[in-house]
């Protein structure tokens, strides 16, 4: 693995700093001591704050895109017209899992309890398909970073903690705003690392209008876990400069 430049510079500063500090004692020089102190400190600091391993956004996009294309092709071939319904945790066996139900017709009927308890992929009443949403791993990462489960929290918790998580902790967006009115939740994200992926998935009609790309999907799972209600991604808007993503979520009363 290639050594990072900040690491090399850190070691060089540390080396000269320690030499300067040692020399300052026999020469009784406060200037040498200050130089040594400064170099040692900044050397150690550079080594301490050097970046963790980062991957390029392009690589991230490329990895996610082929899976999304497969799902989009599958839904197109099946000719399923309904919007994906993100099912709340009460319908799932494992709280860390997530399921989205896509009905074959343009309706928002939730499958019967028998259909939900059986671990089937295709549902017959109503006709549709169960899929693991593309944002599941992201939502689990949010919970891990926040050290909580969204099922134990409420909307107030999300309003308070989600912007900080996105901006400061995970650094995946520059701003995040959440607004709620009646049963609609509006989330506006700017400067997201997923903006290129959202642009590319915009061409995948079934993903864009139904299941959502990983970021909107992860937020849909977050909302369904928090509110305990089924969620539909009503609309996803990407600004012309690709910087702003606006997603409207609709909560469904069971």
């Amino acid at each position: 693995m290639r050594t990072k430049p900040s690491g090399i510079i850190g070691y060089i500063l540390l080396f000269f700093g320690i030499i300067s500090l040692i020399l300052s004692i026999p020469y009784a020089s406060s200037i040498l001591a200050f130089i040594g102190l400064g170099l040692t400190f900044w050397g150690a600091l550079l080594l301490y704050i050097k970046p963790e391993r980062y991957v390029k956004v392009d690589l991230l996009d490329s990895m996610a895109l082929s899976t999304l294309e497969t799902i989009n092709n599958l839904l197109t071939k099946l000719n399923y017209k309904g919007k994906a319904i993100y099912l709340p945790p009460k319908h799932l066996k494992d709280l860390k899992s997530a399921k989205a139900f896509i009905p074959s017709k343009n309706e928002t009927t939730i499958p019967s309890t028998e259909e939900l308890t059986e671990e089937t992929i295709f549902s017959t009443n109503p006709e549709g398909i169960f899929l693991t949403p593309p944002g599941l791993a992201l939502t689990n990462l949010y919970e891990e970073k926040l050290g909580t489960s969204f099922t134990k929290q409420d909307m107030q918790y999300l309003l308070k903690n989600l912007p900080k998580l996105f901006i400061e902790d995970l650094e995946i967006a520059e701003t995040l705003e959440i607004k709620t009115s009646n049963n609609v939740v509006h989330i506006k994200i700017t400067g997201s690392v997923f903006q290129n992926l959202c642009k590319k998935t915009g061409k995948l009609s079934k993903i864009n209008t139904s299941l959502g790309s990983p970021l909107p999907s992860s937020l849909a799972i977050t909302l369904t876990r928090t509110t305990g209600k089924p969620i539909i991604i009503k609309k996803t808007d990407l600004s012309k400069d690709n910087k702003t993503i606006e997603v409207y979520y609709q909560m469904i009363e069971e």
């Binding site: 900040s6 300052s24 004692i25 406060s30 001591a33 704050i49 050097k50 970046p51 980062y54 690392v193």
Partner: protein, 70 residues
């Protein structure tokens, strides 16, 4: 042979370093849109706060010295 810097020299150095680090830490905050800097911001902020607290301790020692000398 002894270390050429006194306690007050170290205090001054801590003050200057703390100011530089705290200002840097604030300026590169992701809240100002600086999300493309590849450094561990949390660690930088922790260091800045630690150096700042160390300086405040040296100030407290100085104040205590002044009070007890009266």
């Amino acid at each position: 042979m002894q270390f050429p810097l006194s306690f007050w020299d170290i205090s001054l150095w801590l003050a200057v370093t703390a100011i530089i680090l705290l200002v840097t830490s604030e300026l590169i905050s992701p809240y100002y849109g600086k999300t493309n800097l590849l450094i561990n911001r949390k660690r930088l902020r922790q260091t800045a706060l630690t150096i700042g607290i160390l300086f405040m301790i040296t100030v407290a020692i100085r104040i205590y010295g002044i009070i007890t000398s009266i």
